[in-house]
């Protein structure tokens, strides 16, 4: 059951102020997959995510989503194609309530869907958000903010979620919860997930395969089985 | 020997990274412009000479704002407050002290000092309260607007300092012009050739002194703060002091403008602290190009002359045309007309423009 390719990059170059961080990234993700992009700090993983959603214009190369080139599109138009971006550090809207934060995500995916039903579903996945729905997002803990950031993109019913270091600064038990929920979502709705991660537990819990990134390029692709080999992973990730 | 050294090192500051123009070419041009300016009264009629003095009067306020905004990165929208305070101070002092014994010049210095002191107090609140950016603009604007309101209602006889009536909205008049004591009859500096040369001399001195200031250690730090305040602070500079310093100097120059203007027309009015008066210096500096003293100076003179020309020949449409010119200039030439025009011809300026846009 090979599904169609949902997301593809071809020779993607991007960077800040003339400093190329991505130096020709090629990857492709099929619909329904969960793919991890792993690598050490500073190899360009977050830059790749920003470049995919359009917050960072690419210098060269191309991004295709559902067969359509996104390169000339502003970030909000890419999001409306159905891409949900969960940034590193969460970036929730700190002076808005949890509920309001969620509502912002409705714009993703273009058409507006039934907010109440979506909210119910998201509160089902993340009960803590329901409990705190009137609290200001800035006062949440890191793990709660991460759940909120994910819930926020789910509001728009995206076909692709870009997760940037979802485990960063979060208690491990919550990391596990999030991983489990993402997998459930993937099974239930067929949503595609591309995530950047260094946390091996999370990678193992979620990824079907991994791209390894180094110095702005994809240097290897490894499957699930390779992830079980701790030494291999450690070579790519750890200190 | 050492004094010669220090003089020559001071002179070296006349050119440097913070000012456009260096080398023999620039200074030759400077000399030509200065010579033309000196020769000007020989060819022009009394009106043009006096009118130019009037333009020169405003240039100090513009240069001061250039220092605060262009070099220090802090937009003060209330420079007219210091202009007004100094103008009134000059009026009050000279009306009380008279114009003998060179007291008008003492009053000039004292009035500028008073405006600088006012700037120091206000600036202390602003910069030590860490007010910056657009909010700084709003606050300084409010200060000058409120001062205008206050001065406008001082019409009653109870509002007098010594024998000087503040005279409310109608403005204070009757103060003497600058007067040079001279054996056999004091020389009264009406807006004429003598005042022209005096104002021109002050302008040249201030311009050169500001060049030295912005290329000095102080100027280095000021520009550093504009570029990256955090880094400047992390190099051990108390950035608040430097911003305050620039604010006080720039406001003192606004004060100098106020005194010269008051002495020029023997008149100062609260409306010189009002909304449209307050906006004008910002316009001059923005149009000329705020990041350099020379462009600020010439921009100011150009806008003043241009707006006056429009008012003379444009009748009711003058203000509309001015507004349109302003909007277009800011949109099309964000670094000011001189730098943008210069960039068409010079590579160095093109680079500078690019980095300012960045």
């Amino acid at each position: 059951m090979r599904k169609e390719i949902l997301l593809e990059t071809m020779g993607l170059w991007a960077g800040y102020g003339g400093k190329p961080v991505l130096q020709g990234v090629d990857l492709s993700v099929r619909a329904g997959e969960i793919v991890a992009v792993i690598g050490r700090n500073g190899v360009g993983k977050s830059t790749l995510m920003k470049s995919l959603i359009g917050l960072l214009p690419s210098d060269r190369g191309s991004v295709l989503f559902q067969g359509e080139a996104l390169d000339a599109m502003a970030a909000h138009r890419r999001a409306r194609q159905g891409i949900g971006y969960v940034p590193q550090g969460r970036d929730v809207f700190p002076r808005m309530s949890v509920g309001e934060n969620l509502l912002v995500g409705q714009s993703i995916g273009g058409g507006r869907s039934d907010a109440a039903a979506r909210l119910d579903a998201i509160y089902g996945y993340f009960p803590i958000l329901k409990e705190r729905r009137d609290q200001r997002a800035g006062t949440l803990s890191g793990g709660q903010q991460q759940q909120l950031a994910i819930g926020r993109v789910l509001m728009g019913g995206p076909s692709l979620i870009l997760l940037d270091e979802p485990s960063e600064g979060i208690q491990p038990n919550i990391v596990q919860d999030i991983a489990r929920i993402m997998v459930d979502l993937n099974r239930q709705t067929g949503i595609t997930v591309v995530f950047v991660e260094q946390n091996l537990d999370m990678i193992r819990a979620m990824a079907e395969r991994c791209y390894v990134m180094d110095k702005g390029r994809i240097t290897a692709e490894i499957g699930r089985d390779a992830l079980e080999d701790r030494d291999t992973v450690r070579r790519y990730l750890a200190v | 020997m050492s004094s010669r050294n220090s003089v020559s090192s001071a002179l070296r500051l006349l050119e440097g990274p913070q000012t456009l123009g260096k080398g023999p070419g620039f200074w030759a041009g400077f000399a030509v412009v200065l010579a033309l300016a000196c020769a000007y009264p020989l060819f022009a009629d009394g009106y043009d000479v006096g009118n130019n003095v009037y333009f020169f009067n405003w240039a100090f306020m513009a240069l001061g704002l250039g220092l605060i905004w262009g070099y220090g990165g802090a937009l003060s929208f209330g420079q007219t407050a210091f202009f007004g305070v100094a103008g009134y101070a000059y009026g009050v002092l000279t009306i009380n002290l008279g114009d003998a014994y060179g007291l008008t010049f003492f009053s000039l210095v004292a009035a500028v000092a008073i405006s600088a002191l006012f700037a120091a107090v206000l600036g202390y609140f602003l910069f030590f309260g860490r007010i910056s950016g657009v909010f700084l603009g709003i606050v300084t604007l409010s200060v000058t607007l409120v001062l205008e309101r206050f001065m406008s209602q001082t019409a009653g006889p109870e509002w007098a300092i010594g024998s000087a009536r503040l005279n409310g909205f109608n403005g204070m008049g009757g103060m003497p012009s600058l007067t040079i004591p001279w054996p056999g009859g004091d020389i009264v500096l009406f807006p004429d050739v003598a005042l022209y040369y005096l104002t021109l001399a002050i302008l040249v001195v201030v311009y050169l002194a500001l060049r030295m200031l912005v290329n000095s250690r102080f100027g280095n730090v000021l520009v550093a703060i504009r570029e990256n305040p955090q880094r400047a602070e992390m190099l051990g500079y108390d950035i608040r002091r430097y911003q305050l310093g620039a604010f006080v100097i720039g406001s003192g120059l606004a004060g100098l403008s106020g005194v010269l203007y008051t002495a020029w027309g023997n008149y100062i009015t609260p409306s010189s602290m009002g909304m449209s008066a307050a906006a004008l210096p910002v316009v001059w500096v923005a149009v000329g190009g705020r990041s350099d003293l020379t462009t600020t100076l010439f921009g100011t003179l150009l806008v003043l002359a241009g707006f006056q020309y429009l008012t003379i020949y444009g009748s009711q449409y003058a203000l509309v045309v001015m507004g349109v010119l302003l909007v277009v200039t800011i949109l099309a030439a964000p670094s000011g007309i001189f730098i943008t025009l210069g960039a068409l011809f010079s590579k160095g300026l093109r680079r500078r423009l690019k980095r300012e846009r960045a």
Binding site: A75, F93, G105, I108 | V282, A286, Y317, L331
Partner: protein, 290 residues
């Protein structure tokens, strides 16, 4: 004056001052607070609202519809200006001051040239009532209600509508809002338009009570600026409480010592705020909460 009519009088005066401060300031505050732009053409949007409202009344429309028209036209003009001019200046907030001043000059003088030096007024509707022997204008009560209603509607707009939520998101973390599918440039247009419309509303509401001349906007501007300085960036945390405090100060001082004292009270308020609350009431309230 007995106690109850004295109390009514004080409330009426305070409410009147409050209405004036809120209505003059909230358009300025929306644009400054949400977009960081000082709109020096604020007075001219007020002018626009007032002129459109008055013209509409003169062709026979009822006042409420006329005011709505004034508000809408000012808002549309605001959006148009944003699209054509202001949006090029978001990275240069200081330059936007110069540009809006230029726009204000064009608008004022253009109005004078096209529409003449003055426009006949329409008269204040609703008549008067009296309490304790003093006559009061009914329309001033309408203005007070309008101020409260404006705040309430703004509050609903910013917390209950999709636009409001997206606008707040855009202001707080613009790039993330963009990445979540929010057309932030449209949000900026709409926000600027909203600010202009609020100025237009102010003009429309006060049009029946004022002399209509091309420079009438300047009568509102000082109070508007003072309120925004004291209030800081946020309408609900800043502008509204600032207007309330200033209204009490102004009404109290004016009734005690006359109009000048009221004006000086505003000056003192600005200075005190600079010294004690450099970010205005907004900064103070946010700091207390954090």
């Amino acid at each position: 004056m007995d106690f109850s009519s004295g109390l009514f009088s004080f409330l009426y005066q305070t409410g009147d001052a409050f209405a004036f401060l809120v209505l003059s300031a909230c358009g300025l505050a929306v644009i400054f607070g949400m977009m960081g732009i000082i709109n020096l053409a604020h007075g001219e949007f007020i002018l626009c609202g007032a002129y459109v409202t008055t013209s509409a009344v003169q062709v026979g429309l009822p006042l409420p519809i006329a005011i709505f028209l004034g508000t809408a036209v000012a808002g549309l003009v605001g959006m148009l200006l944003e699209r054509v001019i202001i949006r090029h200046l978001y990275s240069r907030p200081l330059d936007s001051i110069v540009v809006t001043w230029g726009i204000s000059m064009i608008a004022t003088q253009g109005t004078l040239i096209i529409l003449g030096s003055t426009m006949p007024g329409t008269g204040t509707p609703f008549g008067s009532f009296s309490v304790g022997g003093y006559g009061y204008s009914v329309y001033r009560l309408v203005l007070m209600l309008a101020a409260l209603a404006t705040l309430a509607v703004l509050w609903l707009v910013f917390t209950r509508t999709r636009f409001g939520i997206l606008a707040r998101a855009t202001i707080q973390v613009p790039h993330i809002a963009e990445a979540l599918g929010v057309n932030t440039s449209l949000i900026y247009s709409l926000t600027f338009g909203l600010g202009a419309a609020l100025a237009g509303l102010c003009g429309g509401l006060y049009a029946p009570t004022m002399t209509l001349v091309p420079t009438m906007g300047s009568a509102f501007v000082v109070e508007a600026f003072v309120t925004v300085v004291v209030g800081g960036a946020d309408i609900f945390l800043g502008t509204a409480p600032a207007a309330a405090i200033l209204a009490v100060v102004k009404a109290g001082l004016t009734s005690w010592q006359g109009q000048l004292a009221g004006q000086i009270g505003l000056l003192v308020a600005v200075i005190v705020v600079i010294r004690i609350l450099p970010r205005g009431l907004t900064g103070f309230i946010l700091r207390e909460r954090a």
